[in-house]
Amino acid sequence: MAKKFGRREFIKSGAAIGASVMVGGKLFGKLPAPTISTPAAGPASVFVVSGTDWAAMTAKAVELAGGIKAFVPKGSKVALMPNVQSKNPGTFTKPDILRTVIRLCKEAGATNIACLSYLGQPNWDGAGLAQVIQEEGAALRLIPREDEHWKPVPIPGAAALTEARLMKALDDYDLWINMPITKDHAGNKFTGTMKNLMGLNQPAVNRAQFHKPNWKTDPADIAHLEKCIVDLNFATRPALNIVDATEIIKTNGPMGPGELIKPGKIISGVDRVAIDAYCATILGLKGEDVVAIKHAYDRKLGEIDLGKAGVREVTV
């Protein structure tokens, strides 16, 4: 049974609470009123599918989260945000996952599907994602780094990042789907749904604000970086998160090469904090171990307690 995405879920998923709805401006205003299905097995906000067929796992993960039509209304324009860090194994979202999501969006009636990125064509070619995008008839929009392609988005109540600078191109879409790969990160030991939003923010700002001026290592950088990540998550929110945890690096992230582990999982859901708290466990961490996850929970972006969030796991 499907139900409207009500106020309680809206707050639970940390959907930036009123202020961000206003500051998100056009983008937030254009978001459809998403719906989610009540899972048959009881309340859950983190959906985990294990297996070896990544396409089938992706489809199942989306189904468990409520089905693609709950997130992608007919006729909508959809932006996708896979991770294309490098071509090293375990550092980028798998092509099969992207292919499946594009097909699902089409099935739901999306009229325009595009991947947005400020990284270059070699990243997309090396990861094999450019080929998938072409084969599936979607678009790849590489956004230049210059100021005119980015728009300021104030973040009231920010702990560190008072203004995001999001891609203007995002305004061309009704919603966006977050598709990170969870993996090790040398800066903060973990990357997942929340950190992937840095891919929507102007790289010059990421460099100057998240990592401090001239990005020289600062004693407070780790905490500062984590606060900035959380702040950014109040500037925009994905309609859905689909996380690749099939094969990931557990050392030398985010670019690798590093030690490859094969959890064989795909995780979906709306609550970024809960999903990241779950993904942290794959890397041997607890949500509380990752400053950004703890900070995001403290700021009511989502639920850190997986018992409260509810995790539904299936194997296909």
């Binding site: 194994p89 407070a220 090469p257």
Partner: protein, 304 residues
Amino acid sequence: MRKTAAGPLAGAILAGWLAAPASAQVSDLAVFVPAAAEVPGWAVKGEAQRFAGDDLYIYIDGGAEIYNEYGFRRVLAQDFENKDGRGVTLEIYEMTDPAAAFGIYSFQTSGKGRPAGIGTDGEIEEYYLRFWKGPYLVAVTGFDSSGQAKGDLLEGVIAVAKAAGARMKTAGGRPDFCAALPQEWTGPGFKYLRGVLGLNNVYPLFPTDVLKFREAAAVPVEHGWLFVFGYGEPAEAGIRLSELREAMSGSGTYQNVRQTPGVAFEAADSKGNQLFAAAVGNKIGLIVSPRAAEIAKGLLARIR
């Protein structure tokens, strides 16, 4: 389009290489890129990518800070391809000095690889080979759809790494700080640290630089780590130890923080580890392990 390093470019590179004095900074990292004749069956594919200073951020989006913490100058990345279209990538990072190169190498290396006999401390892991030599960190990757380097790919990884290493006429050993530690501590899994990012990747002590160390070592011990933090003077080590104890007492992250006989204290974290810290001359020794209190005395006595 496939390219080979033969021709005028190769000639220029070779001339530059021959002209470069041993251990001097080379004008272009391309002098270390093997020519086709040095890697039979493999040829350079495309142009090399080059990034220097702050532009490392463009190459390693979101992951450049750890290189900077150790001391980064520039990087060159060059793809190679064989007749079957299979690829190998060579990356050469020039760090500020040999200690920085060893540091980032130790940070990135799991200690689970097998010796490659290439460069300094060269190790082969699942799909890559990594070594350091002088101020250079070299990584060569090659993998198939299963994420492994096998057959011709493995041969290509080894050949490219060996040829690049042979071109590096440079010297430089591990930092003095590491040389002062017992040799058996500096084997597989050992890490040389230069800042809080590296430290927090081994053990998330605090997200801020409470210890303010200049350099440190992380030594794998039974179910945990021994950290040795270096300072200029013994007095500074004592001050930093006191500050660490105070930070732990007030953090809420650590429990049972209490002074022990001598210039030392112990605590516990939420993961079932004991922590035992003591000042030893101009160093601080910190053991993090479920058996820290039990093994601390023997380990600390060996810090010089």
